[in-house]
């Protein structure tokens, strides 16, 4: 078991003919992901190293039975591409693109609520179930199948978490990057709830950062609903208020969204908080010793 993606996932790539889209599609395929289709309007009928390209998502789904989408479309057109996949009823849509305007995402998010699709991202590294399916830009080779579910707002910090527990001999069930934007499709609670329900997942790592209140909300959820051990990390203890720290969503507004506030909320919910990044692997091993 795992969550949301596995060996039955049939992936379609929107923006497959672009440089980034093509490069990462081939990496996903090399990892073992079943890539069945690509979509680039105006390039239908072509193929990318044997993967058929279609003009529209509807056509790609009809012809190939794709049940997941990876979106590499540039920011000005990306919301449109996501909406196209929602309209086509794609269950899992993973948007890698960074830089989508917030107003566009507000519309996507509200429309998403009326559909059955799940959007992961945007501005995220993607989702991977080690050994089965990788959708995104992650370095596949650092992952190993195992009992820990990871959810994170940051790309390289996710890799860091995977690497540190990997060096302790601990593998992952599914690893999800939910993205660094202020408005995203899937949040911590969605992932925590799915990890709690997944029998393969025995323990959970959540990696957050400054900005918004998603970590505080997640902490409340953990306290009330999660019985598996959870460790957490928050980046941005030294971030100055009012400055956007790389990610569009990483900003302390007045006194809200601070790392200190998030750490406090997580500790109050019984989450073991890693305060020093270098200690994540060691602390995970200790905290998870009883269950794995």
């Amino acid at each position: 078991m795992s969550i949301w993606v596995d060996k039955n996932t049939r992936l379609m790539v929107q923006g497959i003919t672009g440089r980034e889209g093509q490069f990462h599609t081939m990496n996903c395929k090399a990892y073992g992901t079943n890539v069945v289709a690509g979509v680039t309007p105006g390039k239908g009928g072509q193929n990318v190293e044997g993967i058929p390209v279609f003009n529209t998502v509807a056509k790609a789904v009809k012809e190939t039975g794709a049940n997941a989408a990876m979106v590499f479309v540039p920011p000005p057109f990306c919301a449109d591409a996501i909406l196209e996949s929602i309209e086509a009823g794609i269950p899992i849509i993973v948007a890698i693109t960074e830089g989508i305007p917030v107003m566009d995402m507000l519309k996507v998010k509200n429309y998403l609520k009326t559909s059955k699709s799940r959007l992961i991202g945007p501005n995220c590294p993607g989702i991977i179930t080690p050994g089965q399916c990788k959708i995104g830009i992650q370095p596949g080779h650092i992952h190993t199948p195992g009992p820990v579910g990871i959810v994170s707002r940051s790309g390289t910090l996710t890799y860091e978490a995977v690497h540190q527990i990997g060096s302790m001999g601990i593998g992952q069930s599914t690893v999800i990057g939910i993205g660094g934007d202020p408005v995203n499709g899937t949040n911590f609670i969605d992932c925590l709830s799915a990890f709690q329900a997944d029998p393969q997942t025995k323990a959970i790592i959540m990696v957050g950062e400054i900005g918004g209140s998603a970590e505080e909300d997640a902490a409340d959820f953990v306290k009330a609903n999660v019985t598996k051990p959870v460790i957490g990390f928050i980046a941005g203890l030294t971030a100055p208020p009012g400055r956007r720290m790389g990610h569009a969503g990483a900003i302390i507004s007045g006194s809200s969204g601070t790392a200190q506030g998030k750490i406090k909320a997580m500790q109050a919910a019984g989450i073991t908080v890693v305060e020093n990044l270098g200690e994540m692997g060691r602390i995970a091993k200790e905290a998870f010793a009883k269950v794995i």
């Binding site: 917030v102 030294t238 100055p240 400055r243 990044l277 270098g278």
Partner: protein, 388 residues
């Protein structure tokens, strides 16, 4: 992106949101001539900087006659204004807004912004206007009205009524208030604003509703579709090293008082690296995310910008090579180091794809590069550098 009050008021005028009569002035002479054109007293002379709290800092004055306009303009232009938002170093005032004074009966607070938690657009309003809204929210949250709007539905008459009646407006003000909030909603959406704030919004004794102040922030990711807003950018308001970094697509933020520079790939890891530096007993001098690509040119310019700060005693490079291969990055660092001429110790922690080759390249380079095997090791080594 932030803009000045006088620029925000230009956009307000464009959308029919009432603002006081007035104009921007770059010199004392211009301030006097704007005052003369207004033809009334009192006249308000306001410093234009990208920070709040200008009044308390002495940057807003009420002139009762022509001589006072001149006196205040002389005093404020060129002054270093320190407010709770500028930091202790303050900001030099280079422009003024000169406006008519108004017969104020009541001050309100009004703002509209995208709300990340609910994914709606939210109006916030309060009868406690002219005060720090954070403080009002903390002490008396019941004094703030929030009206959430589904962007797929848009702004409707009932939304405006919820605000107007919530603020206990006099019946004769409701029509103009409702027209104004509809215009503000349109402005916020049309221009991809991350905040439109009027504090205070004033009700005058002659029954007008006027935006006495104005603040607009924009979503940086949407500036590409607003060329007129891009022209509002004021480089005087930005740190020169950050302006320089933006030319090379480097995501750089200067941290005042820091002594350890750092260069990292990925925003989350970059923030965490700053935290590590602090936990090791030093102070981060910057935030720098070189991104997933991190070309040799970017690394070179990153070094140049970090080392231009004389307070920097050492640099920590922390890279998790995913798609970006460590050997390529190591070559980039070595080339850049040779070109820039590095005069402080550099600690490099690298992990990920082709890490062994990367480390070997660094060790054989003959440069003053200290390699660290993991995050904790890097922290200890950079701490030693900071102490030495």
């Amino acid at each position: 992106m932030k803009i000045h009050e006088f620029q925000a008021k230009e956009l307000f005028r464009k959308y029919g949101v009432p603002v006081p009569r007035g104009s921007v002035a770059f010199t004392v002479a211009e301030a006097k001539s704007v005052g003369a054109e207004l033809g009334t007293f009192p006249v308000v002379v306001k410093a234009q900087i990208h920070a709040g709290g200008r009044g308390k800092g002495g940057g807003v004055k009420l002139a009762k006659n022509r001589d006072e306009i001149e006196d205040y303009a002389k005093k404020i232009l060129g002054m270093t204004l320190v407010t709770h938002q500028t930091g202790p170093e303050g900001k030099v005032v280079k422009k003024l807004l000169v406006e008519e004074g108004l017969p104020i009966e009541k001050e309100l607070y009004l703002s509209v912004l995208p709300d990340r938690g609910t994914a709606k657009i939210v109006f916030m309003a309060s009868e406690a206007g002219g005060m720090d809204i954070e403080e009002v929210a903390a002490k008396t949250p019941e004094k703030i009205i929030k009206v959430y709007i589904d962007p797929l539905l848009g702004f409707k008459g009932f939304h405006a009524n919820e605000l107007a009646f919530g603020l206990n407006l006099k019946p004769e003000l409701i029509k103009q208030f409702n027209t104004m909030v509809a215009a503000l909603y349109k402005l916020c959406v049309d221009y991809d604003c991350s905040l439109v704030e009027i504090n205070p919004l004033v009700l005058t004794s002659d029954n007008r509703v006027i935006a006495l102040d104005g603040k607009i922030n924009f979503d940086d990711n949407a500036i590409y579709r607003h060329k007129d807003v891009a022209e509002y950018r004021d480089l005087d308001e930005e740190d020169p090293s950050e302006v320089e970094a933006s030319k090379f697509d480097l995501n750089y933020i200067k941290m005042p008082g820091g002594n350890i520079g750092n260069m990292v790939n990925g925003a989350g890891l970059a923030m965490a690296t700053m935290d590590i530096i602090q936990q090791a007993g030093a102070a981060p001098a910057n935030f720098l995310d070189v991104g997933g690509g991190a070309s040799a040119e970017q690394v070179e310019n990153g070094f140049r910008i970090i080392l231009a700060d004389p307070a920097v005693k050492g640099v920590l490079i922390n890279i998790f090579g995913g798609i970006l291969r460590c050997d390529r990055l190591a070559n980039g660092v070595v080339e850049a180091a040779k070109k820039v001429g590095i005069n402080v110790p550099v600690v490099i922690r690298m992990e990920g794809t082709n890490v062994e080759q990367g480390r070997e390249i660094l060790e054989k380079s003959g440069l003053n590069l200290i390699t660290a095997k993991d995050v904790s090791d890097a922290a200890q080594k950079i701490a030693a550098v900071a102490k030495g």
